[in-house]
C-alpha cells in the first residue's frame, strides 16, 4: 500500500477492518466520530455492518449482541459516552464476550472540553464498571501505532475472551501522519474453534486452559449467557463451589499471560539514574524530553507503555531497581503515576500531571528530571 497522510482515528477504523471487525455500533461524540464515519463507509464494502444506535449504552449492548452472533465487533466513543458504556463493559467482562471499545479521551469530567485532549480516563478504563473484573487497556502513541494496536486489541479480546479498551486521546486521534499500512491479508487474528459436541460444550469451563473456546449463537451450540454469577454451562448459581473456581479463572486469565499481553518499548542506557515512563500522547513528550536530555549529555531511560492494564508490573519493577527516580508525564493529575508509585515506591516517582487540555511540554519533564 502507498504512503498516505492519515488521522489516528482513521487508522483505528482501518485497523478494525484489517482485524476482521464486521460490526460497528456507536453514537456520535467528539473527538471520536471519525472512527464511526470511516467505518460507516468501509464496513459495507467488506460485507460488514454499521449501525448508529440511540445512545452509548445501546451501542455497547449491540456490539456484544453481534459478537454473540459471531461477528467481531467494535464501538468508539469519548468521555461521557465511555461513562455510559461502563454498564455493559462489565457485562462483557462477566460473560467473557470479546469486543473492542475505543475511547478517544477528551477533557473531563462531565462535558468538560470536548475538543481538548486528556488522559483522564486511565482509572475509569480499569475500574469504571462495578466489581472486580479483568480488562485489557492499550494506548497507542502514533497514527500507525493506532492501526497496529487496534489489531492487537481484536486479537487479545478474542484470545482471552475479554473486552479490550483502546485508550487513545484527542491528540493521537486527530493528528495526521504519513503512514504505510500493511496488506490486510497478512493480518492474523485469533479464531475460536470449538471441538466438543454441542451436548458436551461448556461455554465457561474452568479448564483445561484458562480461556474456554466461544461458540457463536445459531451454530448448534445452544447455551445460556447471563450477567449473573454462573456455572460452567452458564446457568445462574449461588454455590460457592461453582463460583470460586470461575472467579479464580477469570481474574487470573490475563495476569497469567502478561508475557504476551504486556506491550511496551524500552530505550535504556547503561548507568542512567533517571527514567521517563509514559504512554499515549504523553509518551511523545517523554521521548522528546529524552532526546533533549541526551543531547545535553545526560543519561536517561525511557519506558513507553502500550499496555497499561493489566499494569506491566514486572517491567516497571525492573526499571525501579535500575534507576533512582522515574518521571511520569501524563495529561491528568497523576493517574498512572499512582500505579508506578505502587510498584517502585512513592519516593522514586515524580509526577508531571496536566489536566487543562494542554499537552505536557518536554521542558516541564526536563525540570523534574534533575537529581
Amino acid at each position: 500500500m502507498a504512503v498516505k497522510l492519515m488521522q489516528g482515528n482513521e487508522a483505528i477504523a482501518k485497523g478494525a477492518v484489517a482485524a476482521g471487525c464486521r460490526f460497528y455500533a456507536g453514537y456520535p461524540i467528539t473527538p471520536s466520530t471519525e472512527v464511526a464515519e470511516v467505518l460507516s463507509r468501509e464496513l459495507p464494502k467488506v460485507g460488514g455492518k454499521f449501525i448508529q444506535m440511540e445512545d452509548e449504552i445501546a451501542s455497547m449492548a449491540a456490539i456484544i449482541g453481534a459478537r454473540v452472533g459471531g461477528l467481531k465487533s467494535m464501538t468508539a466513543t469519548s468521555g461521557p459516552g465511555f461513562s455510559l458504556m461502563q454498564e455493559n463493559i462489565g457485562y462483557a467482562a462477566m460473560t467473557e464476550v470479546p469486543c473492542v471499545i475505543v475511547n478517544v479521551q477528551r477533557l473531563g469530567p462531565s462535558t468538560g472540553q470536548p475538543t481538548a485532549a486528556s488522559q483522564g480516563d486511565v482509572m475509569q478504563a480499569r475500574w469504571g464498571t462495578h466489581g472486580d473484573h479483568p480488562i485489557i487497556v492499550l494506548s497507542p502513541i502514533s497514527v500507525r501505532h493506532s492501526f497496529d494496536l487496534t489489531i492487537k486489541a481484536f486479537d487479545f479480546s478474542e484470545k482471552y475472551r475479554t473486552p479490550v479498551i483502546l485508550l487513545t486521546d484527542e491528540i493521537i486521534g486527530h493528528m495526521r501522519e504519513p503512514v504505510e499500512l500493511p496488506d490486510f491479508k497478512t493480518v492474523k487474528i485469533f479464531e475460536h474453534s470449538v471441538t466438543e459436541k454441542p451436548a458436551d460444550y461448556k461455554a465457561y469451563r474452568n479448564g483445561p486452559g484458562d480461556v474456554p473456546p466461544m461458540a457463536a449463537f445459531g451454530t448448534g451450540y445452544r447455551y445460556h449467557i447471563t450477567g449473573l454469577f454462573h456455572d460452567e454451562v452458564g446457568f445462574p448459581t449461588q454455590r460457592l463451589d461453582e463460583i470460586d473456581p470461575w472467579l479464580e479463572r477469570v481474574n487470573t486469565k490475563l495476569t497469567n499471560h502478561m508475557d504476551e499481553i504486556a506491550l511496551y518499548e524500552e530505550d535504556y542506557e547503561d548507568g542512567a539514574k533517571v527514567a521517563l515512563l509514559s504512554y499515549g500522547c504523553s509518551a511523545r513528550t517523554a521521548r522528546h524530553a529524552m532526546k533533549l536530555a541526551r543531547a545535553q549529555g545526560q543519561k536517561v531511560d525511557l519506558l513507553s507503555l502500550f499496555t497499561i492494564w493489566p499494569f506491566p508490573e514486572k517491567q516497571v519493577e525492573a526499571l525501579g531497581d535500575k534507576v533512582d527516580r522515574i518521571v511520569v508525564p501524563e495529561m491528568n493529575r497523576g493517574q498512572l503515576a499512582l500505579e508506578v508509585e505502587r510498584i517502585v515506591g512513592r519516593k522514586k516517582v515524580r509526577r508531571v500531571g496536566l489536566a487543562n487540555g494542554e499537552m505536557v511540554t518536554p521542558q516541564m519533564v526536563l525540570e523534574k528530571m534533575g537529581g
Binding site: G47, M53, D55, I64, G65, V68, F217, T219
Partner: protein, 300 residues
C-alpha cells in the same frame, strides 16, 4: 418450607396427578425446555409469567422452528428469567437493554428468530429509549412484554404501567403518575405487528405470538399478567386465582370494543385484547443487505 414445596407434597398424595414416566420425552413442546436445567422456576407459585412461557413455546413449536434458529434475549426482572428454562440460544442481559443486545444479534444473524423478553419496567422505563428505536428501525425482532404493572423482583415498586392511584411500595399513598399504553407506544414508534392478550387467554397469546414471530418486522405482543405477591397484596386483589379471574372479567375482545358507541369507548376501563396493527414495511436487515449489495456493486 416454601409454598411451592407444600404444593408439591400435596400433589404427591394424589397418585392420579403424578405424570406417568416418559411424559417429558413424549411431549413435543416440553422438549423445548432445557433438560439439564434445574426446575422449578424462580417464579412465585401461581405467577402468570409461566403461562407466557408456555404460550411462547407453543408458538415456536407451531411455527416448526428449529431450536438452533431461535434466540431469546432478556433484560432483568422476573419476566427476564424466562429464557434460561428454554432450550434455545439464550442471552440474559442487563436491565432495560434486551432490545439493544437483540439489535446486534439480529444484524449479525438476520436468519435467526430473535425474541426479546421483557417486563413492563424493563421494556418501558429503563429500556424505553431502546424500545421506541427498535420499533422505529423496524428490525425483525419480536418484543414480548409481560405487563404486570409492577416491579415484581424488587418487591413491588410502581412501574410505567402501574395505573393511576394504585398502590406500590414506592407509592404508599397511591400512584400519582399516569401509565404508558404499551401497544399505543409501539404503534406510534412504527411497529409492524402489535397485539395484546392476557395470561387468562393463553391460547390467544399462542396465536398472537406465533403471528408476531412469523412477522418480518418489529412485532410487539403485550401479555397482560399479574403479580399477586406484590401488586395484588398491596392493592387487596386476592389470590393468584382471583387475579386470573379478574383478567377474564375485566377484558374484552377488540371486536366487542369496536362495536361500542363512542361514549362507551370513552368510558371503557377494560383491557382490550386483540391485534391492533399488522402491516408490512421494509425490514432493517433486508434494507442493509441491499445497501451492502449496492456498495459492493461499486456505488459510491
Amino acid at each position: 418450607m416454601s409454598q411451592h414445596i407444600l404444593d408439591a407434597a400435596a400433589l404427591n398424595q394424589d397418585e392420579a396427578l403424578i405424570p406417568k414416566s416418559g411424559w417429558f420425552e413424549q411431549s413435543e413442546t416440553l422438549q423445548k425446555l432445557r433438560k439439564n436445567k434445574k426446575f422449578p422456576t424462580i417464579w412465585c407459585p401461581g405467577c402468570g409469567i409461566g403461562v407466557v412461557m408456555g404460550a411462547l413455546i407453543r408458538a415456536i413449536d407451531h411455527l416448526g422452528l428449529k431450536n438452533d434458529d431461535v434466540a431469546l434475549v432478556a433484560g432483568i426482572g422476573c419476566t427476564a428469567r424466562m429464557p434460561v428454562y428454554m432450550d434455545f440460544n439464550t442471552l440474559h442481559t442487563t436491565h432495560g437493554r434486551a432490545l439493544a443486545f437483540a439489535t446486534g444479534l439480529k444484524i449479525a444473524r438476520p436468519d435467526m428468530k430473535v425474541i426479546a423478553i421483557m417486563g413492563d419496567g424493563d421494556a418501558l422505563a429503563i429500556g424505553g429509549n431502546h424500545f421506541i428505536h427498535a420499533a422505529r428501525r423496524n428490525l425483525g425482532i419480536t418484543a414480548l412484554v409481560v405487563n404486570n404493572s409492577i416491579y415484581g423482583m424488587t418487591g413491588g415498586q410502581y412501574s410505567p404501567t402501574t395505573p393511576l392511584g394504585k398502590r406500590a411500595t414506592t407509592a404508599p399513598y397511591g400512584n400519582v403518575e399516569p401509565p404508558f399504553p404499551v401497544c399505543d407506544l409501539a404503534i406510534a414508534a412504527g411497529a409492524t405487528y402489535v397485539a395484546r392478550s392476557t395470561v387468562y387467554h393463553a391460547l390467544e397469546l399462542d396465536k398472537f405470538l406465533a403471528e408476531a414471530i412469523a412477522k418480518d418486522g418489529f412485532s410487539l405482543v403485550e401479555a397482560v399478567s399479574y403479580c399477586h405477591t406484590t401488586y395484588g397484596r398491596l392493592n387487596k386483589l386476592g389470590t393468584a386465582a382471583d387475579m386470573m379471574r379478574a383478567l377474564k372479567d375485566n377484558s374484552i375482545s377488540r371486536t366487542a370494543f369496536d362495536a361500542m358507541s363512542p361514549e362507551q369507548k370513552a368510558d371503557n376501563t377494560k383491557i382490550v385484547r386483540g391485534k391492533f396493527v399488522d402491516i408490512d414495511r421494509p425490514q432493517y436487515t433486508a434494507i442493509y443487505a441491499n445497501l451492502i449489495t449496492r456498495v459492493q456493486g461499486g456505488e459510491k
